[in-house]
Symmetry: C2
Subunit: 219 residues, 2 copies
DNA sequence: TATTTATTAAAGTATTCGCTTGAGTGATCT
DNA sequence: AGATCACTCAAGCGAATACTTTAATAAATA
């Protein structure tokens, strides 16, 4: 019954790939990257049933992508390693580069306009220090409350039209959300540009910002 | 019928992940990385039936990881993008870091000994220029004949004992094979070290060497 | 034009996956 | 201790996958 070591290794690598090969698990990873959470919160955020979320989470744990620990009644999941984020990001890069379908979806998010290059995190940090930029955190209010980039203002897509009236026309805005998989920032930037603002996306989202050791406001 | 753009994007990312989530397809990618090849050659190298290999290859093509073109009677497959190699390598890194099982298998390959750190490609290039190192290409003869690092000597695992007798004891040897998924170099290094040679693996294999624009002997 | 060769398509089967439902487990609260 | 809460396990079902066998297609050759 002993199979070759080569086959055994490939089986393990494939196990990791299989873990990131279901949309539900990618959503869970995106949520866990925001900060460690219990099963119920993750299920609620991703729209999965509790039992289903639990099973997916165990799949992720078997692949070594997340760790879990017990905290009272809850079981808290968190990313086991920063490389997990890197793997997800590279997956996205490969998909965007090779699949025309992805190009099309992203173009649709920008409402036909050409999207500008994202702002690098280094750039944003510099401008933050100068105070020369407005930052919009385009995530749901509870995620913003949990953690956000200091100085960011929580603005959901629904708020955008109302908020825009209070902004100085032409001002420079940087929007971010959960990370590279999150589309809110794309949509917010497209809407703001349509209104004539100089809006751009931040490259990556909160997890990538935190991962680089930058300051995060945390509750 | 129109699903949300978010779900559509995740489905595309998952498609790419699914493509690298089967051992058979990882083997195919490893082979294709050696150089472009037809279906029959790939099937033979990986031990898959022709029809099965063809289906896996189409799976890889749908995910945008490989391209194909017709050359006479044959259909030639090749990597569509260097990022594919990077993705496979990161997959391996994540698996090695997080899965105890992988650690165990790799330890088994080294026959219980502690394996030394691999030699970087920069280092090897420097030593090659100095002529201060012996390079073993531990792949099957046909793959060596197809392409190899200039100055390398083709030595299969079966030859190793015989060849060892002709080497100066204590000499420094660097072994490489197909790439990070290939175990021949691990095994060769373990065997050579047991015989008292100062042997180490090259980091990566021929595809990574070529990818960096370094010289490759090619037929 | 007919035949051979290389590959893909189609059809069938066994296995695995994703999701649901309902029962089971561990920790906390009363 | 009993009730409750948060999660996991087990069973079951439909859909998707991996592999095999058997056509079908496309290009080269006779």
């Amino acid at each position: 019954m002993s199979i070759s070591p080569k086959a055994a290794l490939l089986e393990e690598y494939a196990l990791v790939a299989r873990a990131i090969s279901a949309p539900a698990r990618l959503m869970l990873l995106e949520q866990i990257a925001q900060g460690e959470r219990g099963v119920e919160a993750l299920a609620e955020k991703t729209g999965l049933s509790i039992a289903n979320a639990s099973q997916h989470l165990q799949h992720l744990r078997r692949a070594g992508l997340v760790d879990s620990r017990r905290d009272g009644k809850s079981v808290i999941y968190r990313l086991s390693d920063a490389k997990t984020l890197a793997l997800m990001d590279l997956l996205r890069v490969v998909a965007e580069r090779n699949l025309a379908q992805v190009e099309r979806i992203l173009r649709g998010l920008s409402d036909g306009q050409d999207a500008p290059e994202p702002v690098s995190r280094d750039d944003l940090a510099d401008r933050l220090a100068e105070g020369s930029v407005t930052i919009f955190d385009v995530r749901p209010a509870d995620e913003f409350a949990f953690a956000h980039i200091p100085g960011a203002r929580n603005v959901t897509l629904a708020d955008l039209d109302r908020i825009a009236l209070t902004l100085i026309p032409g001002s420079e805005i940087v929007a971010y959300c959960r990370g590279p998989y999150c589309i809110y920032a794309h949509q917010a930037v497209a809407a703001l540009r349509k209104m004539g603002f100089n809006a751009r996306r931040l490259d990556g989202g909160l997890p990538e910002w935190r991962e680089e050791g930058r300051q995060v406001f945390h509750n």
